[in-house]
Symmetry: C2
Subunit: 258 residues, 2 copies
C-alpha cells in the first residue's frame, strides 16, 4: 500500500503538524495542508512547496488524511470528513472508540514534545500505532517506520497510559523546573546555576534506574533539612515539596518492607 | 596562599569526597584520606596513591581539611578537629552559624548530583563559597577555581535557597521519573519508550524558559484529559498528578491576570 506516489493531506499546522509535515515530505507526496489558521497553513505549505486546502470539500483524493489538531477538535473535524477518506490522528489521549466510526480510522502518536523553534530527531521518537482494522494499522506502521526506527502497535488504553506517564516525565518535570526558577528569581539567585544539575539529573535517568538514582533529604529521611526547606517555601511550591517528599519517603519505606 | 605544595586532607570517601578527591589530586597534594568506612578510605587512597588517616589525632599538618560527610555528621566531627586546622565542608543545607565556631571555617559546595559510577565534568559545576572570614573565603574561592570555571560567593541563606531549588530540579524530577516508570512497569509498558521524551524535556529546559516550554493538559486547562488520566491513577501518584496540575493551572491563571 505504501509506495512512492503515496499522497497525504495534513490537517493542522501547529507543532506536531509542522514537525510531521517536514519529515513526511521527504518520503511521500503532501498534496494538501489545511488549518483553520490559514496563515499557518500557507506558511508551512510555502516552506514545503505543496498546496494548501481551504475547505474540507476541497480535499483532494489521497491515501491518508493526517489530523494533527488539538484533542477537543478531532471529533467535530472527523464528522465533517467524507467517509471515503482514510484518516489518522496524532493524539495520545483520544480513544478511537470515542470518535465517529469510519472504515479506516487510526492513530499515529509520536511520543515527544514538539516546539516550533526546536528541531527534533524524529528517528529516535517512538510512534504508537492503532487502527480500526489490521490492514490500516499495518499501513500506518509502515508509514511511521519511514520516520522512526521505534514504531509499536498500542491500543487506545495503553496509549492513554503512556500518555499519563508522558505528562509526569514532560509536563510535570517542566513545572518543577518552573517552580525552582521562580524561587531562584524571587530570591535574586541565578537560575543558570541549576542547569548543569538539571542536565546531569536527566542524563543519569537515561542510564540508571530512577529508584537507584534517587538522593536527597527525603530519600535519607533527613527531617531537619526538610523542615528547614519548608520554612523557605510557601503556597503551592510548599505543598508540592511536602507531597513529593512524602511520596519519596513512602517509596523507600515500601522498598525496605519488601 | 594557594601554591603547588598545598596540602589537603579529605574526610569522607562517599560520592562527593570521591569526586572531589579525584579532581583535587591533579592540583594539590592530598596528604590524607579519612573515613569511618575504612575500606572506602583505603580504596580511594589506593586509587589516588595517597595515605589514609585512621584517627583524627593522626591528621597531618595541612592547609585544609575538606569535610565531605553527611550533613548530620558535620557538627560532631568539627567538635573533634583541633582548632588549629582550617576546615571547609561541602553541604548545601548546613549553615556556618549552626556549627562550632572556629577561626577558619568555610564551605565549598558543588551544586551537582554525584554517583560513584558516573564521571562528572566538574569544570561545568557551580561551586558556592562561604567562609568565616574573607581571607579564608578567598582561599576557598581560588581552590574551587582550579576545579571549575563557575565559582561564586554565597552566604548560608542563599546557599540554602539554592539547595531547595536543587531538590526540585534533581530529587523531585528524579521521583517523577520513578512514578512514571512504576506506572509503566505496573501496566507492562516499556519505560524505554519515555526516554527520548525525558531527554528532550531537559534539553529544552536548558534553552527555553520553563514557562514558555510548558505544554500539556493542565497548561491548556483540558479537564477532560485530566479527568481521564486521574481515573488511571491511584494513591500518591494520583495526589501528585492533582497537585501539580493545579499548580500549573494556577501559574498560567496568574500569568493571564498580570
Amino acid at each position: 500500500m505504501v509506495n512512492p506516489m503515496e499522497r497525504i493531506v495534513i490537517i493542522g499546522a501547529g507543532n506536531i503538524g509542522t514537525h510531521l509535515a517536514h519529515a513526511l515530505v521527504q518520503h511521500v507526496s503532501i498534496v494538501g495542508i489545511m488549518s483553520q489558521h490559514h496563515e499557518s497553513a500557507h506558511k508551512l505549505a510555502g516552506l514545503l512547496n505543496c498546496p494548501t486546502v481551504e475547505r474540507i470539500e476541497d480535499i483532494p483524493s489521497c491515501d491518508l488524511i493526517l489530523v494533527c489538531v488539538p484533542d477537543k477538535a478531532i471529533g467535530n473535524l472527523l464528522q465533517n470528513i467524507p467517509a471515503e477518506f482514510n484518516v489518522a490522528y496524532t493524539s495520545g489521549a483520544v480513544s478511537i472508540s470515542d470518535l465517529p466510526i469510519r472504515e479506516n480510522l487510526g492513530v499515529l502518536y509520536p511520543l515527544q514534545t514538539f516546539s516550533r523553534e526546536r528541531e527534533v530527531n524524529l528517528f529516535e521518537v517512538p510512534f504508537l500505532i492503532e487502527a480500526s482494522n489490521t490492514f490500516f494499522s499495518q499501513y500506518l506502521f509502515d508509514l511511521a517506520r519511514k520516520l522512526s526506527h521505534k514504531v509499536i502497535f498500542a491500543g487506545s488504553e495503553d496509549r492513554k497510559k503512556v500518555h499519563v506517564s508522558a505528562v509526569f516525565v514532560n509536563n510535570f518535570v517542566n513545572h518543577l523546573a518552573l517552580l525552582a526558577k521562580n524561587f531562584m528569581d524571587e530570591n535574586q539567585l541565578d537560575w543558570e546555576l541549576l542547569k548543569p544539575l538539571l542536565k546531569e539529573t536527566s542524563e543519569k535517568l537515561l542510564i540508571l534506574d530512577p529508584c537507584e538514582a534517587q538522593t536527597g533529604p527525603a530519600r535519607r529521611k533527613d527531617t531537619i533539612t526538610i523542615e528547614a526547606h519548608l520554612k523557605l517555601l510557601e503556597g503551592l511550591p510548599k505543598e508540592v515539596y511536602t507531597l513529593i517528599s512524602k511520596s519519596i519517603e513512602q517509596t523507600y519505606q515500601a522498598k525496605k518492607n519488601d
